[in-house]
């Protein structure tokens, strides 16, 4: 590994961490799409800043761009407050307009501006190590590492200082304001940090891939845990892991680094989406199937409990009376047998004592209808689940 390669990976990892932290809170606050809006609408801020400073990494430019990000949030909220359109429409209206202004500004001044729209969208991580920060001829490392590093330090400082406040205002804005913590301050603080991070990161990974780095690690982590601290740590781990893996994938394919970082993030999310224990697609589908069979079982047991007549309890009768398919009736019957809830004697099904108890309690459940009760009850009675 050459030193440039190490530096690129270092920058990518720092960007990933800096994005994952505000991203986690944005995902939890259901404001993920505001990153989409911010990342597009910082463009006019960047262009105007570039007119003034002629330097893509000057602090003034970052402040101007971040200000246009915050302006987006304010505009979106203003439009939303008028009640003329819904929130999502407001977001969808504001950022394309600002982005268009940015593109037109660039196109109009294409001659004096060394700013490529592609670079704004994609960033050029591969060139980041060449733009170095020097002081008295001493090489201090790549400029973008300094920028994004200081943004990360600020973000971390704010995170540790206001962790409790952020947590409360994220999960219960009402409680937060009752406790005297202003949710509005937290909201705009978070928006400012997100804007600054987006601007800092856009240089390295481009405007659109910032969205991926903010949302994807947080969403993946959210599929795996319900604990805020764990979620933050997992998001950082996923972000850094995908950044480094993505770099090597890009290296192998000789393609865009930010594109391959996003692709790796996408694959990580896909795996979590499919296989996350308890929340992933497969376990949700499995649970839904299990619940369907268990509900069928309950219906069946209730039917048995209500009928003393022999002909109503004949195995053959099940299909026609409750109108089940053969396979389903078989699996329900098997489940009931396995759990010792019924006995079959000469094709006549009868409830055991346990089956009767279960049925009585189940009726109780249906009457009181408390969701939590039935799961405990199932644990008490079932040896095998559906």
């Amino acid at each position: 590994m050459s030193s440039a390669q190490i530096e690129i990976q270092l920058i990518a990892s720092v960007v990933a961490i800096a994005c994952a932290i505000p991203g986690t809170f944005l995902v939890l606050r259901k404001m993920a799409l505001i990153t989409d809006a911010i990342s597009h609408s910082i463009l006019p801020g960047i262009v105007i800043g570039f007119f003034i400073t002629h330097d893509l990494s000057s602090p003034l430019l970052i402040i101007l761009a971040a200000a246009s990000g915050v302006l987006t949030v304010v505009l979106v909220e203003f439009i939303q407050k008028t009640g003329l359109v819904k929130e999502d429409t407001a977001i969808g209206l504001v950022f394309p307009v600002l982005f268009s202004i940015g593109i037109i500004l660039i196109a109009q001044n294409a001659n004096d501006i060394h700013l490529d729209v592609d670079a704004v969208l994609l960033g050029e991580l591969a060139f980041a190590p060449f733009d170095r920060l020097g002081f008295n001829d001493i090489d201090l490392g790549p400029k973008s590492l300094w920028i994004i590093g200081s943004i990360l330090l600020i973000t971390l400082g704010l995170l540790f200082a206001f962790f409790k406040e952020l947590k409360v205002s994220t999960f219960d804005a009402g409680l937060a304001s009752a406790l005297g913590l202003s949710p509005a301050v937290m909201h705009y603080g978070l928006m400012t940090v997100s804007s600054i991070t987006t601007v800092g990161a856009f240089d390295a990974v481009g405007a659109i891939l910032v969205i991926a780095l903010m949302i994807a690690p947080a969403a993946t982590a959210y599929l795996l845990t319900n604990d805020l601290k764990k979620m933050l740590v997992l998001a950082v781990v996923f972000g850094v892991g995908s950044a480094i893996t993505g770099y090597w994938v890009a290296h192998a394919l000789d393609a865009s680094i930010s594109g391959s970082m996003t692709t790796v993030l996408g694959l990580v999310f896909l795996i979590a989406y499919l296989f996350a224990p308890g929340r992933g697609l497969f376990s949700v589908l499995y649970r839904q199937r299990q619940q369907r069979i268990e509900v069928s079982l309950l219906t069946f047991l209730l039917h048995l409990g209500n009928h003393k007549e022999v002909e109503e309890r004949h195995v053959k009768h099940l299909n026609e009376h409750i109108n089940w398919q053969k396979v389903q009736s078989k699996s329900v019957l098997d489940l009931a047998l396995k759990n010792n809830m019924i006995t079959i004697d000469n094709d006549i099904v009868s409830l055991t004592k346990k089956g009767k108890d279960f049925t009585t309690k189940a009726i109780n459940y249906i009457v009181t209808n408390k969701n939590s009760e039935i799961e405990n009850m199932k644990d008490d009675f079932f040896l095998f689940r559906g």
Partner: protein, 376 residues
């Protein structure tokens, strides 16, 4: 280039005519289908899908190896649909919310598309040039065949929308009721979503991935301000969309260095801004005027009832009182006093005022009237 020259050029010049027609048709179909997207609260779906279409274009190119806008459209359509259904899968099967799902699909598909595009650019294939035009759109690349395709698709979607008008309208405003009536809501849902995806994909070549969502939203959001009737809204949105297409093309053609896509979006944005402010029913300007008028009316009533309280303590209701005694009361100004006199509720005589018979009567019934109005 002045306006007359421009109009002459539209009829003579092949490129300009094609672009103008293309953007007009595109604006119309986007406005029409965008109305449904906006009312179904799927505004940002357009953004997500237009980004999600990018890998489809790149894969289509990788497979066939030449540039062909119809094959690209097919690829874009397929990957757009995959994106749409994945978004549904995420929101329905996991606890992630729709904003996260939209943002995820948008950025992940786009990133993957960029990976493929940069990979293609490194390939020794001369045909790859111009694939990036799908990022920001390049109206100049429109051919007559593209415009015909747009016209045909617009025609089909118009027929479908008219055919399923009643069902779609019902689905928009009361999905549960639609279901209980026995309509196949899943089919209707997929139908309208598919057509929205088709409209987005059609626009990619002209306005590009990034700005496509505005094309879909802006005409519909503007039209929404002028009417509460779905039919009128769809028609108006199509009209706004087509006019922003034509106007945007005209503006960008008459200046150097103005790409068509962003200008069209800005024109559509101006339509939205104008509608937000000046629409008579919902617009901010008229709302403010109504608000002021109501406040003035209320203040007038307040003054009048205060005067009534004073006058009613006297046997003679038109006994004059000094204006000064109103001074410690907030809702009174010289103007409101003048207004009361114009309405013949009070008489002003120098520094004194006195109540008239009508004024006394109105004031006595002020609150009764209010109650009556509320009852009605």
């Amino acid at each position: 280039m002045d306006l007359r020259e421009y109009i002459a050029l539209v009829f003579d010049d092949y490129t300009l005519r094609t672009i103008t027609l293309g953007t007009a048709v595109l604006g119309a179909i986007c406005g029409m289908l965008g109305s449904f997207a906006v009312l179904r609260k799927q505004s940002l779906l357009g953004d997500a899908i237009s980004h999600a279409a990018l890998p489809g274009i790149a894969i289509a190119f990788l497979i066939i190896g030449v540039k062909s806008s119809s094959i690209f459209l097919l690829g874009a359509l397929i990957s757009g649909l995959i994106g749409t259904f994945w978004i549904r899968g995420i929101t329905q099967k996991t606890h992630l919310k729709s904003d996260t799902a939209l943002g995820l699909i948008l950025s992940l598909f786009f990133g993957f598309g960029m990976l493929l595009l940069t990979y293609i650019q490194k390939q020794p294939n001369a045909n790859q040039a111009g694939l990036e035009s799908y990022l920001f759109g390049q109206a100049a690349t429109l051919l007559e065949s593209d415009v015909w395709l747009m016209v045909i698709v617009t025609g089909i979607s118009l027929v479908i929308v008219l055919l399923f008008w009643k069902e779609l309208k019902l689905l928009l405003f009361d999905p549960d009721y639609t279901k209980t009536l026995g309509f196949n809501t899943k089919f209707l849902d997929i139908l309208i979503t598919t057509f929205i995806v088709v409209a987005i994909v059609l626009g990619l070549q002209t306005v590009g991935v990034v700005l496509m969502s505005a094309m879909l939203l802006a005409p519909a959001a503007a039209a929404r301000q002028w009417t509460n009737n779905l039919g009128k809204m769809v028609f108006l949105a199509a009209l706004f969309g087509a006019s922003s297409g034509v106007l945007g093309t005209a503006i960008s053609a008459s200046h150097n260095n103005l790409s068509t896509g962003p200008v069209i979006v800005l024109v559509a944005g101006v339509f939205v801004l104008f509608s937000f402010i000046f629409s008579p029913g919902r617009g901010l300007l008229f709302r403010e005027i109504r608000f002021r008028k109501n406040r003035n009316d209320l203040q007038l009533h307040k003054t009048l009832s205060f005067m009534y309280n004073i006058a009613s303590t006297h046997e003679d209701i038109s006994h004059p009182h000094a204006i000064k005694i109103l001074n410690n009361f907030q809702g009174f100004t010289r103007k409101s006093l003048q207004k009361l006199e114009d309405k013949d509720y009070v008489k002003i005589d120098g520094p004194m005022w006195s109540m008239t018979e009508t004024g006394y009567h109105t004031a006595a019934n002020l609150y009764n009237q209010l109650i009556k109005e509320e009852d009605e």
